[in-house]
């Protein structure tokens, strides 16, 4: 008898899950990066980016879409981009949510723990300017209110394609 796991592995390997259409780097993100990095500030990372996600106060909607880009359908790792468990292993910090005052210090320390060169990406409308949580006594604002931000990915939440195209722009800008 063929064990069920073998059948499923075969089905997924042959199966048509992963999107074959190419995702292009976001034009808007490229412009932002040109401004924040300076056109000449290009660093060789060997076509690979390690990302550390930080939820600084999100509603968890953005996290769901980050999980989605890691699933076999969008399969982020085929581009050489992967999520890592520690800021010490990361090139990029992907910040979601408005920054709650209760998370501001943790966010600052996580950025400090990330070796240079590092880039901070504010993902989602809340991380850009606080979104619908701006103005609260408990919210500092967008990520830029607490740490320097290099690039943004708008959306509530951004779709997996938005996230991919933003990260590809970053890959393009930094690998030169």
């Amino acid at each position: 008898m063929i064990p069920p796991i073998a059948k499923m592995l075969a089905r997924h390997l042959i199966g048509p899950h992963t999107r074959k259409d190419t995702v292009t780097p976001s034009e808007r993100a490229l412009r932002e990066l040109a401004e924040s990095l300076g056109i000449t500030a290009q660093v060789k990372l060997g076509r690979s980016l390690a990302i550390r996600a930080i939820d600084a106060g999100s509603c968890n909607g953005c996290e769901l879409e980050i999980h989605a880009v890691n699933h076999p359908v969008y399969d982020l790792e085929r581009f050489g981009i992967k999520f890592v468990a520690s800021p010490r292993h990361a090139d990029v910090l992907l910040v979601t949510g408005p920054v709650s005052w209760n998370m501001a210090e943790a966010l600052r320390r996580t950025v400090e723990a990330t070796p240079e060169p590092r880039w901070v990406v504010a993902m989602g409308d809340c991380a850009i300017d606080g979104g619908c949580f701006a103005g609260s006594y408990a919210v500092a604002g967008g990520a830029a209110a607490v740490v320097p931000v290099d690039m943004t990915i708008p959306g509530c939440p951004p779709t997996p394609t938005d996230i991919l195209s933003g990260l590809l722009a970053l890959l393009e800008a930094v690998e030169g």
């Binding site: 997924h12 909607g61 699933h71 359908v73 468990a85 005052w101 943790a106 619908c132």
Partner: protein, 505 residues
């Protein structure tokens, strides 16, 4: 009389507040509130939510046998109230939060440590009488565990995966967890403060973002509370479409969590398989309803989307595809002894605790507690649909997985029923301008979401309080992990998947 009196009989000794729908609200004086607290030790009334105002405290209650729901309120101009948490541990964190946000002191509560307030807001009691505070951060005293060879493991608020922030303090002996204590509040955004004073539709956007994974459930809860306050009847078709969206949300979350639980037992293929299924559902959401997570598709007065015959056909074929793919995933789970070995007998929640904390959702149902807001108190269209609530008694990770699997099957069936019997008509009704108070109880994938709202005549939200089921599930996680090994914590935690954002508000 102790123990024999029903909830509504007991509360009728107070003064009934006018214009509170659909269930009554009674104001109790100090004596009445104290009697209520004492009833908590003898009755089986459940606390569904508890919240404050600058000089009043409210509790949403359900009489377990009769299913009657009511709000009890206690004006406390002197700034303190008799704590229900003395008799019902489920209320302890709620009352600590009431103290942080409104400055009302829960008298008699042993644990007077702050809960949501970490000393970073610049003010104390932001929703009561705010006072400037710049005394620096609070030092939080964790509960101790003492003995030979005990050590602490602090985890968080920033975790290793893509997870929300919170702090876990483990006391361990070797590999075994002796005590876990949670510290939450890191994602407190001041949602109640933000909703107050907003026009209804703006507040609805915020309600939809209390916990992103339950956005449909929160939107339905907010809409139902607003409609109750306004005395508005919405068209039948809107009720049915809401249920359609709610069941799609339930399936999407269960699929992801079942995959993620197996992944935390190092069985990654299940995450990939369930992720691919989930993606089919989310892509269909985007194509048919314009948003992958269905945010802002349910609005006060009805829904902002409709389905035509083509959409119905597409949804029905989606259901068939999901059912087939899901069956394969379940078969793999059932036939993988190494996986079952990790989930069976791990992270047990005893049914007495589940009852004591009034846990709803799959956490309750895996531990003999069959409550489901779709059945009790029930709301349309579920009273017209054919479904049963699965219940198991084992209370371990496996039972929670098994309940979720059954709920996926149930939701797929519900979607078919909804699509074949969808009534014709409009999908929304205009909101009248009227003052009133309303409360709603809605079953999210996680359990019962309660939402209370007070509206002004100008069509604005005066106050709103969303309550996440996680409030009564987080404390049970502390109990579930006891005597388990540290390495099984991710497994236990994911099998609960409590919301940080929904809890922290």
């Amino acid at each position: 009389m102790m123990g024999n009196v029903t909830l509504l009989e007991f509360l009728s000794m107070g003064r009934e507040v006018a214009n509170h729908r659909p269930w009554p609200r009674y104001q109790l004086d100090s004596k009445g509130w104290k009697a209520l607290a004492e009833q908590m030790s003898v009755s089986n009334w459940e606390i569904l939510a508890q919240w404050g105002e600058p000089a009043e405290v409210h509790v949403l209650l359900r009489g377990e046998d009769s299913g009657a729901v009511a709000v009890a309120s206690h004006p406390c101009p002197d700034g303190s109230f008799h704590a229900l948490g003395q008799f019902r541990p489920a209320a302890i964190r709620l009352e600590r939060a009431i103290r942080d946000l409104w400055g009302l002191i829960p008298e008699g509560l042993e644990d007077q440590r702050p809960w949501l307030d970490h000393g970073h807001w610049g003010v104390t009691h932001p929703l009561g009488k705010p006072r400037q505070y710049d005394g620096g951060r609070h030092v939080y005293k964790f509960l101790a565990a003492e003995g030979d060879g005990l050590h602490q493991i602090p985890v968080g608020p920033v975790h290793a995966g893509v997870i929300e922030p919170g702090h876990f303090r483990f006391h361990c002996q070797g590999e075994t967890v002796v005590r876990l204590e949670e510290r939450l509040g890191y994602v407190h955004k001041g949602i109640e403060g933000l909703m107050a004073g907003k026009p209804i539709l703006d507040a609805a956007r915020i309600a939809a973002r209390v916990s992103g994974d339950s956005t449909v459930a929160y939107s339905i809860a907010f809409a139902r509370a607003v409609e109750a306050a306004l005395g508005l009847e919405i068209p039948d078709r809107a009720h049915w479409l809401r249920a359609l969206l709610a069941e799609l949300e339930r399936i999407a979350n269960h699929l992801f969590d079942i995959g993620a639980i197996c992944n935390d037992a190092a069985f990654a293929i299940m995450l990939a398989h369930m992720g691919a299924l989930r993606e089919k559902l989310l892509a269909s959401n985007a194509a048919l309803f314009g948003h992958r997570l269905l945010m802002d598709r349910v609005i006060p007065g009805g829904v902002a989307v409709d389905v035509d015959e083509t959409a119905k056909t597409q949804l029905l074929s989606l259901v068939r595809m999901l059912r087939k793919g899901f069956k394969r995933g379940v078969a793999l789970y059932d036939h993988t002894p190494s996986l079952l070995d990790r989930t069976t007998g791990t992270g047990i929640v005893h049914s007495t605790l589940a009852h004591r904390f009034g846990a709803s959702g799959f956490v309750g149902r895996a531990s003999s507690r069959s409550v489901d807001a779709r059945k009790l108190p029930g709301y349309p269209p579920y009273d017209d649909l054919d479904f049963t609530i699965p219940v198991l008694a084992d209370g371990d990770v496996h039972a929670r997985v098994a309940i979720r699997m059954e709920e996926v099957r149930t939701s797929l069936n519900l979607i078919e029923q909804i699509l074949t019997r969808l009534p014709d008509g409009a999908v929304s009704a205009p909101l009248p301008m009227r003052a009133g108070e309303g409360v709603a109880l809605v079953e999210s994938f996680r359990g019962e979401v309660a939402l209370w709202v007070r509206l002004s005549e100008a069509g604005k939200v005066v106050r709103a309080h969303p309550h996440d089921p996680s409030w009564f599930q987080w404390p049970l996680l502390e109990a579930a992990i006891e005597h388990n090994i540290v390495a099984d914590f991710p497994l236990c935690n994911k099998s609960f998947n409590c919301s940080y954002s929904g809890h922290d508000l």
